[in-house]
């Protein structure tokens, strides 16, 4: 039966695929319709709201669309601060996580003992939710928390700071905690990349006279390019979504030094009832996510990987 259907498909691909499309509809249509409505519909509605001036109680006015919300962004110091923080978090968190993850992967890949134990230890933080790690790190960073206590215990009391209160350290503290949580993920991605490099390449490089440093710099790390790109995209998307971590740690008003777009969006919409402005910030966030995912998705599509 199948072979008959296949041969019909070969003879007349158009009608066969049409009938496949119709036949399979009951299976995919309900889910697709729900996704279209609640994901893409909601995004669309959000975009529309951002063009209205909706704020406070009452209904949005769909008769008069303006770009006012977007126009006021550059002059809003809160927005600009959170945009800066978002980008700083994005770049620093992604960069440091990749470097730490690569370092861990190179170490774990050196045929060490208890390799799988180390792998699990490093990967475990990834399995925890942001809420858990945010509370955990608030304790760590507290003025009498583990970090400060350890520092003073070691006679390094002058290094102890109010990590979550001092605007100079807040963002760095958040980035450090996030790096702790995600470098294990980078390690796994890099480890998979390293494992896919055949042993012959290491040996050929040794015969070619490459030092260990050159081996990694010129032969191994360049071959981890696709691992890096994949991990980067995932990390950046997580950085944009770091809302829950900051929200749990600082609440809706973390202060300008650590405010990020996601928190500003939430605060404008749900604390200040500036619905349209919140929606406009959401659109900016969405555009940022698209600029990260878009090129990746496009190159993957070009390579036939999607």
């Amino acid at each position: 039966m199948d072979s008959l259907r296949n041969s019909i498909k070969r003879l007349n691909p158009l009608s066969a695929s049409d009938s496949d499309f119709l036949e399979s509809m009951p299976f995919w249509l309900p889910a697709t319709a729900l996704v279209l409505l609640f994901v893409y519909g909601a995004i669309g509605w959000n975009v529309i709201i951002s063009f209205t001036g909706w704020s406070g109680l009452g209904q949005p006015d769909y008769t008069n669309f303006t770009l006012e919300m977007y126009r006021q962004m550059p002059s809003d110091p809160d927005f600009m601060a959170s945009l800066r923080n978002t980008i700083a978090l994005l770049v620093a968190f992604t960069g440091v996580s990749l470097v730490v993850g690569l370092g861990l992967a190179l170490l774990v890949d050196r045929k060490i003992r208890f390799e799988s134990t180390f792998r699990t230890i490093y990967l475990l933080p990834m399995a925890l939710s942001f809420v858990v790690t945010a509370i955990f790190w608030s304790w760590m960073y507290a003025s009498n928390g583990l970090i400060n206590t350890t520092l003073s215990g070691l006679g390094l009391g002058w290094l102890a700071h109010d990590w979550l209160g001092d605007p100079r350290f807040k963002l760095a503290a958040v980035i450090f905690a996030l790096v702790w949580q995600f470098s294990g993920y980078c390690m796994i991605v890099y480890l998979a990349g390293l494992r896919s490099i055949p042993n012959d390449h290491y040996e050929a490089a040794r015969i070619d006279g490459a030092s260990t440093l050159t081996l990694y710099r010129r032969i191994i790390i360049p071959q981890l390019r696709s691992s890096t790109v994949g991990a980067t995209v995932v990390l950046m998307v997580f950085a944009l979504k770091a809302f829950d971590f900051i929200y749990v740690m600082f609440g809706t008003n973390p202060g300008r030094s650590v405010d990020i777009l996601a928190v500003t969006m939430y605060r404008e919409a749900f604390s200040s009832s500036e619905w349209a402005y919140g929606a406009a910030i959401a659109v900016v966030l969405f555009a940022l996510a698209l600029t990260i995912i878009g090129p990746y998705a496009y190159t993957q599509y070009k390579r036939g990987a999607l």
């Binding site: 012959d200 040996e203 050929a204 015969i207 070619d208 006279g209 490459a210 010129r218």
Partner: protein, 380 residues
């Protein structure tokens, strides 16, 4: 002065549970300058380990490897003046052909860039890959990748080439073509070469000298023809040659070899070579068995054709002594000689072509007599 010498080289691997496995057992070999040595044996016989010890990719457990007189056991791979071609080619996928070929020169020599470029281009021209220099390995066919891997070795201008089953990833036609090409290249370059393969055809056709390994032990070293016609033992006799030599377990009764299905009379000259060994193996190459229609001599036996494999130029005829038996032996006859399945034929086993081995030790007691003739130069 590049003669490479292996003196009682041994490699012992220690497993996690403390078990010791001897992969290479006191192998001694010598390769002269410009010589093409083929290390051949079944998988797991230690041939690749031997090569990797020469390359410096495995440590030597015992014995010495000498290159040009000095021991190189502890030298780093890059310091050994060797170049290796891997079975998988091991081309760096993110580098162009040019970068792949120059990498070794950049890392191991202080050669200036323009000299590296011209060396690489010369080698590429010699291999016919000069128009591929800017391509990446993934864009090349298997044969082209093979050439790049060779080119990468050639530019190093080493004292010794090490080739680890370099042709095994190519299709049959290309493999035969690359075989001749490699041979020609090696002759032109005049560099001592160790070539590892499990394919006895490659060993026979390419080697100046074959070294046959089994279970980590060297079985025989000799020219291809020596190994073929004068095998040192049963293993060599069975490994070299396709289809492989026929063996019959026989016992000796005076000057007669007794098999379950036949007896074979020896002349006293041959019998005297056997010493006091009684449990023997009689060997005969398929092409030495003649098929006849009349039984006119003591070394002829009535047999039945079980299966015929026509190869075109020759037929492999599988014969049995008994029409119902499944124990066959094979004779190779001219491709134009027609025989049918089930037909009865007379197989003649000439005494000057037989090999006799001691069954217990496997060592050869008598090999066939050789009467090789040189092809006369044409008188023009």
């Amino acid at each position: 002065m590049a003669d490479l010498q292996l003196d009682d080289v041994t490699k012992v691997f220690v497993e996690d549970d403390g078990n010791e496995i001897t992969a290479v057992d006191e192998v001694s070999l010598a390769i002269d300058d410009g010589e093409f040595l083929v290390l051949v044996g079944p998988s797991g016989c230690g041939k690749s380990t031997t090569l990797r010890m020469v390359a410096g990719l495995e440590t030597v457990s015992d014995g010495a490897i000498r290159l040009g007189g000095s021991v190189i056991n502890d030298a780093k791979p890059a310091e050994r003046d060797i170049a290796m071609v891997f079975q998988s080619y091991a081309l760096y996928p993110h580098m162009t052909v040019r970068e792949n070929m120059s990498f070794g020169l950049e890392e191991s020599t202080s050669m200036p860039d323009d000299e590296i470029a011209s060396t690489v281009e010369d080698a590429a021209t010699m291999l016919g890959i000069d128009d591929l220099l800017e391509r990446k390995p993934d864009d090349l066919s298997g044969g082209q990748q093979q050439r790049v891997a060779l080119g990468r070795a050639i530019v190093r201008d080493p004292e010794v080439f090490l080739l680890d089953e370099p042709l095994s990833n190519l299709d049959a036609k290309l493999r035969a073509q690359m075989r001749t090409e490699l041979q020609r290249l090696q002759e032109d370059l005049g560099v001592a070469t160790i070539y590892v393969t499990h394919d006895q055809t490659e060993a026979m056709t390419m080697a100046d000298k074959i070294a046959i390994l089994n279970d980590g032990q060297l079985q025989q070293v000799g020219t291809p023809l020596e190994c073929y016609h004068e095998p040192a033992n049963l293993f060599v006799a069975s490994f070299i040659g396709e289809p492989s030599m026929n063996f019959f377990d026989v016992s000796r009764d005076g000057e007669t070899l007794v098999h379950d299905d036949f007896t074979y009379e020896l002349t006293s000259a041959v019998a005297s070579e056997l010493g006091d060994h009684d449990e023997l193996v009689l060997g005969i190459r398929p092409e030495d068995i003649e098929l006849r229609s009349t039984q006119d001599d003591t070394h002829s036996y009535e047999t039945f054709v079980d299966v015929v494999e026509p190869m075109g130029n020759e037929n492999n005829v599988y014969l049995t002594f008994d029409a119902d038996s499944t124990e066959t032996f094979v004779a190779t006859i001219d491709g134009l000689n027609h025989v049918e399945d089930g037909q009865s034929v007379i197989a003649h086993v000439p005494e000057d072509a037989i090999h006799i081995f001691d069954r217990a030790s496997g060592s050869a007691l008598r090999n066939r007599t050789l009467d090789t003739q040189a092809m006369p130069e044409p008188q023009l």
